[in-house]
Symmetry: C2
DNA sequence: CCGTAACTTGACCCGGTGGTCAACATGTCT
DNA sequence: AGACATGTTGACCACCGGGTCAAGTTACGG
């Protein structure tokens, strides 16, 4: 790879990281290129697709952020505290960082590293949930799919509220958590989605455009 | 108004109703015109804007659906049952009818009749909430803004899940409701949004395109 | 210092959106 | 039936998105 290509790739990565974190993963590629001071042809030349760019720019970041949160949760002596803290922390990431919000809300099948991060994250969530359920503090009918559903629905509003300077999303999380404490309140009227179902949902861009 | 113009307006209204309920309030106006077998110029001529069309087509429908739900809630002898039933019913509307989902999720300032419906609905929700709070069954720190926040975040995922043939959104509603029973579980870590704040949020299209 | 391979560029394609308007058609009233 | 108002049409505008590629530029090894 020639030196100038490397430079351009670096610039594009930087611009992409900026814009992704500022406005979400769906910013136009031409705008990223513009922001990087480079022709959009170069972007396509160097990365080929939005998903590849996302994979290079966001996967690591997501892995560390989500990994940290999960590790902290499992390190917490009280399983419920660990669980509740995890949920809150992830929601905070959603409110704070549009890119991470989209990572939880959408799915990009061609971003293989990111997909791996998501899978790991899901597995970690299962551990955290499991621990709290076994502990008897989390209601036994709550599943990781339910968490993902909640996170996916929560992301856009949390982001918007935070952008508007409000913390109100914390209230929604609070209500939810209070509903999750054992013993189960009301029996649930439906089956959870399977991970495949929810995955499919997010690939389609469920929460997006609401279209 | 000439007879043919009336005919065309009726066709356009019908097409708009169809497409709105099938795909949400953001379907392209040209597509509605196409679907009505009429030039898009005619649509602009007769209605002028998307919001005017929405106002004519959706406002009544929304008024009756939401009004029915609210009336049923207030008629329910048990305030908590009334509240829980109301929330569930509205969520069901969101899952079932993309147009109504959007009504709860977005705001169209130029659709004056629809805006009135929204305001009435908000007021009705306040009554329902108030009654359940006074009854002691609903936690006292829950506000109508919190409900609106929940509904707005819930709509897109509920719609997508329902479209995928899943009832899983009912679980989310169930968790939430269990978190709302008095006595308040955990003290809330933030102020609710004011109606103005949340309105502004929805006008901006917060939940949309997650953009 | 020069030739070549690597790279960049921006015009261009496609399809989509909202929106306007001159030219044309048609209903309607006398 | 005729004439005018009322409506309709679809080409056209500007903008956006993703994506391609011939032509021009630039880095780099010999």
């Amino acid at each position: 790879m020639r030196a100038d290509a490397q430079r351009n790739a670096a610039r594009l990565r930087a611009a992409a990281a900026d814009l992704f974190q500022e406005r979400g993963l769906q910013v136009s590629l031409k705008e990223i290129a513009r922001h990087a001071g480079v022709s959009h042809g170069t972007l396509y030349n160097l990365f080929g697709s939005r998903e590849a760019l996302i994979d290079e720019v966001i996967a690591d970041l997501a892995a560390t952020r989500l990994g940290d949160a999960a590790r902290a949760a499992l390190a917490c002596p009280d399983p419920w505290q660990g669980f509740a803290g995890y949920v809150t922390e992830v929601c905070e990431l959603q409110a704070t960082d549009p890119a991470l919000g989209d990572v939880l809300t959408r799915r990009f099948p061609d971003a293989s590293r990111l997909m791996a991060v998501c899978d790991n994250s899901f597995a970690a969530a299962e551990s955290i949930i499991d621990r709290a359920r076994r502990d008897g503090s989390l209601r036994p009918d709550f599943t990781a799919s339910d968490l993902l559903f909640f996170l996916a629905s929560h992301a856009p509003l949390a982001r918007a509220a935070a952008a508007a300077g409000s913390d109100a999303w914390r209230r929604a999380v609070g209500f939810m958590l209070d509903g999750l404490r054992a013993p189960a309140g009301t029996p649930l009227p439906a089956e959870p989605m399977t991970p495949q179902q929810i995955n499919h949902l997010l690939v389609e861009g469920a929460a997006a455009v609401s279209a």
